[in-house]
Symmetry: C2
Subunit: 393 residues, 2 copies
């Protein structure tokens, strides 16, 4: 055995207090409240990441996730990190030094995708619209006409503005120029209609903690055949080991077919348990029913907000059902209302960037996309508004 010589011991750190987080109704842009079944699943017997049961569970999780994405893409898995890392995985693997990318930007998360593409070494051209608007595919067309690109990227549901980008026209224009299509569906997957294969999206990334309804911690992605061809045709290895798809699929995918799973990293067992249960809930409910439930809950929210005289920020045709960005009523201290609401155990969120102080962001996602929960939220919001001196118009 090894005896190590230890220098002067640092001051002893006291044990922290017991965890005691408050109860919250999570109507911010995410996380949403998970179904209690999801949290319970996370406490199931912990096993090894190469245990035969876990190896089978990985296959099952990939099958379920394909169902949620509506895709036959073999290369569909939850990245062992949060949703941001899922999008980064797509950028880091589909792009390499010197590649060209056109990224549509309608808010913070478009900018983030562009920055990730730059970190991957790509020459990035940004096509931008003002906050609250969606991109016109003709803008992308014009940019690609100037100079082709390997990849066109955009965000489906822009969480900072509440605007929802129609997918099909974006795919159509990108394909016209033979560009790969990458989509951030972090705030839409399992809440808004997405059929990856019918739409022809080559790579998409989401998160675990919004419409899917598990805690944050996983970045579900799906990579189609055209995108995998691009990955296989890379001239250089990606600037990442952890998010290298070629290595990841030797662990998760069919690339291991002829032998046992190659060790890559240790999968986050408890998170995968919760994610499995969340997808089980989704597939039990049925995607169409779940999409309809999100739409119904959104409509109930909008009706309730309308009664309070609160309007939505994006134009009606551009709105996401899952993330509602609303104009703060005039004469109201928006931060005070949010603080008061949080004091009642209800979270909604303020604006980011140029919209800070001007909007609230109200997520109606996953388990929370139920009329009774929406009504609880609306009641609390009205109460908080009144307590802060607001009077209905």
């Amino acid at each position: 055995m090894t005896t190590m010589t230890i220098g002067p011991t640092s001051e002893k750190t006291p044990a922290p207090p017991k965890l005691n987080p408050p109860e919250r109704l999570l109507f911010g842009p995410g996380p949403s409240n998970p179904d209690p079944r999801v949290l319970q699943a996370m406490t199931a017997n912990q096993i090894g990441h190469l245990d035969p049961y876990f190896v089978e569970l990985m296959d099952q999780v990939m099958r379920s996730l394909r169902g949620v994405f509506r895709t036959a893409n073999h290369h569909t898995l939850p990245i062992s990190a949060t949703g941001s890392a899922g999008i980064e995985t797509i950028m880091m693997n589909l792009l390499e030094d010197g590649d060209s990318a056109v990224i549509g930007v309608a808010g913070y998360f478009g900018h983030r995708m562009a920055e990730m593409a730059r970190r991957a070494g790509a020459d990035v051209r940004v096509v931008e619209v003002p906050s609250g608007q969606t991109l016109d595919p003709a803008q992308i067309d014009a940019e690609l006409k100037k100079k082709p690109a390997k990849l066109v990227g955009f965000v489906h549901a822009e969480t900072t503005t509440g605007a929802c980008q129609p997918i099909a026209p974006m795919v159509e224009v990108a394909k016209r120029y033979d560009a790969l299509v990458a989509m951030d569906c972090v705030t839409s997957l399992a809440g808004l209609p997405i059929d990856l294969d019918a739409l022809g999206v080559d790579a998409a990334g989401s998160c675990s903690q919004k419409c899917i309804g598990a805690p944050p911690g996983l970045g579900p992605i799906s990579i189609g055949p055209r995108a995998m061809q691009a990955v296989q045709a890379r001239k250089s290895k990606p600037h990442t080991w952890y998010l290298d798809l070629a290595l990841l699929f030797q662990y998760w995918g069919e690339e291991r077919a002829s032998r046992s799973r190659a060790f890559h990293h240790t999968a986050p067992i408890a998170m995968i348990y919760g994610f499995h249960e969340a997808m089980r809930l989704i597939l039990e409910e049925g995607l169409e029913a779940r999409w309809a439930r999100h739409q119904t809950a959104h409509e109930a929210l909008v009706r309730g907000l309308d009664k309070l005289g609160i309007s939505l920020f994006p134009a009606p045709a551009d709105r996401c059902a899952t993330i509602n960005v609303v104009n703060v009523p005039t004469g109201v201290d928006e931060a005070a209302v949010r603080r008061r609401l949080l004091g009642m155990g209800v979270e909604m969120s303020g604006g980011l960037g140029v919209l800070a102080g001007k909007v609230w962001r109200i997520g109606v996602m996953g388990y929370n996309a139920q009329i009774p929960r929406v009504e609880r939220f609306l009641g609390a919001l009205e109460e908080a508004l009144r307590a802060e001196g607001w009077k209905a118009a």
Copy 2:
């Protein structure tokens, strides 16, 4: 609201079966069994990642983690991904294109660190020893004498060979050449004596699922002032957005002092809850007591193995208490023994790479580093050996 046109709906995916993982005594190289308190903590009320309670919890988690690393380093946090990503974070941020690094390799995880350094763009020189041995600091000295390096990296407890690298002499030689010291302590933190500040290590990374005793999913790291200076002096941005320390600390660290936390990614709330509880258990027990418990459990294991005629692979002076790599007895079908053991609900692991088929890897870590649990393991191993036709020598 947006109505999306959806193409031909893919075949409906049935809901997967209910999760039902088997009970396992996890004596592989990790994950180890978490204390039940840790799993319970993960189910606490889920809250938003910018909730005042969570923001305070992040500070508390950083304080506790400093205690576990025995460091005053402000820049100490759990990366929102597994232990591998923690090591990658260190390499991606401390190194940039054209930097020079010397990586000591005593097994698979040394090679992995070298590969991560290459992905960061560094010119990597590997100093290697045969499996089961530890590096001689004179080898590093000779390499640095030939040509200096910005960083010297090594693995403390090499999980593939069970060899434990003495830290202090490695630091001493690196500092002589003014190189930063990066250490992988994935299989040692909270199990073997580590005092980061007394040792003078500039950057260290571990995992949540071994001696710390939480489920896999987080990569705790600590970055010292010399390393942060190097990060701040970078000529280019890191080839990663998700693991960019400058961005991460605007969310987690004192860099946010003058304003509210800048949004980066959504922290994995439930994992942080479990990690908090695991560190609470560590600090309640006290690090010295915990190190001693790991040592005592290791000694009990070695005595028991000795009675079975099973010897350890590394030389006595080089052994890790936390990960015991043992020689498979002659005439035994090693895979059959492991399968039989797993059938009894007990996991140990086979060898990786050149050691495949030759060794077993037995982890005695975290909650499992208790004599009664070691005895359960030993009893099961003897039973499995006999069932496979083995006879004590």
